[in-house]
Symmetry: C2
Amino acid sequence: MEPEKILNISVDCVVFGFDINTKSLNVLLIKRFLATQDKEEILVDDYVLTGYHVYKEETLDETATRVLKELTGLTNQYKKQFKAFGDPDRLMNPKDIIWIKNEAFHLRTTTIAYYFLLKTEDVDVNNSKKQAKWFPVSNLPELGFDHKKIILEAYEDLKIKCLSEPIIFKLLPDKFTINEVQDVYQSILGIEIDNRNFRRKLINKKYIIALDEKQVGVSKKPAQLYMFSKDIYDKMFSKNYLISI
Amino acid sequence: MEPEKILNISVDCVVFGFDINTKSLNVLLIKRFLATQDKEEILVDDYVLTGYHVYKEETLDETATRVLKELTGLTNQYKKQFKAFGDPDRLMNPKDIIWIKNEAFHLRTTTIAYYFLLKTEDVDVNNSKKQAKWFPVSNLPELGFDHKKIILEAYEDLKIKCLSEPIIFKLLPDKFTINEVQDVYQSILGIEIDNRNFRRKLINKKYIIALDEKQVGVSKKPAQLYMFSKDIYDKMFSKNYLISI
DNA sequence: AAAAACAAACGTAAATATGACGTTTGTAAA
DNA sequence: TTTACAAACGTCATATTTACGTTTGTTTTT
């Protein structure tokens, strides 16, 4: 006889980090643990996203924020809820059978998936209790559960979204060079962009502000630093949508 | 003492229908019923989205498809899962207290929200058991629960998405005129578009095919009919994203 | 001190797209 | 026939894009 199913809601977080040195878009993953009925923890040789079930008095957003903080120590990072995954058979692992009075119940876990955008340099990977590690999106390790699917859907969403909103700057430090912005686009979209045209286009945006500062400590001509002005951007697009039908 | 909470997962559907005659983007809503503890049904004087809880062996997509079919009889319509709503206090109504052995439990319902795109003319509103009715997005009635919020978030998503993907054609018959396409954009985005420029732009798209047919039964010069070729569109954008950084 | 290396930054010309309009055309109804 | 009117076509100035070539300003090497 099939065990009864008990509902469970969790949040899973795809943490995207851009590495400005290797020019690579990465995902932060942890080693997978299996908890058996006896609460013993067994390390399995693959990686998973971090997630947790939603607490009783918590909103979904709050769960995501909490999960990120526990993993990275960071708060106030850009996050987006992009998809819920709730197939009845999306399970799972021995932990998903719970025992009530000697009767087995299957947990059916629906997960609300979020992605975060931040800089790899902001995360102290070694300080984490969780054996967290960065992997390039283009070269993911073996992944547990349906987490590969979740990462790829987050990535697709990011690709589309970064073309219609200036979220790219969440992956860069406050002060950046034109070429660094180009690096992010190239890395996310997997394309080559002509630097001269890209440069002109970006500099002409009103919301890209040239600072009175240049790079320091580089062994070539140091590049001009810029910042992104959210204020100006918001004013420009407050009412009208960019029409490019 | 606070009653314990029991989890529940539902799907709610925002059914968008374009009315080609009134040139209006509408939402299909039903009168709200309240089921009390005694299973008596009380009609409340506001409207709600249609939704239902997710069956035991159902995927979320299947639930959405089922809900749409029960409401409209239609299958194979464009649908998109756009957001999960799961605030702990997002409910509620008397139905959301359930009684187990004289003990009250609160249902905490997380809803996975979908929107559908179709033509109002495809739905026989009167045939529906549910007292379904179309309302313009710009003039919604009093809405129950957090359904106004859900509709508005669906609408925002649609506005952005229709500028980056050709989903607009899901709101139109297979054969349409240029002006009808313009009507849909104007209605969704709430803007005026210059007809001469719009026309030129649209006709130049390779995936807009002129048919050997014209409108019939109109009392003015009958317009040329066109169709959208998904094949051609997919080939054009199969690999590369439209870069407009 | 001069030269080399090299990314940063600037420049240009042709092709294409856009925005803001005016004009013609084809059909049904008067 | 004529009229009404949306459908459909046309034009021109400006802006944007594409595809390249060239110069500049540091640091490192000679």
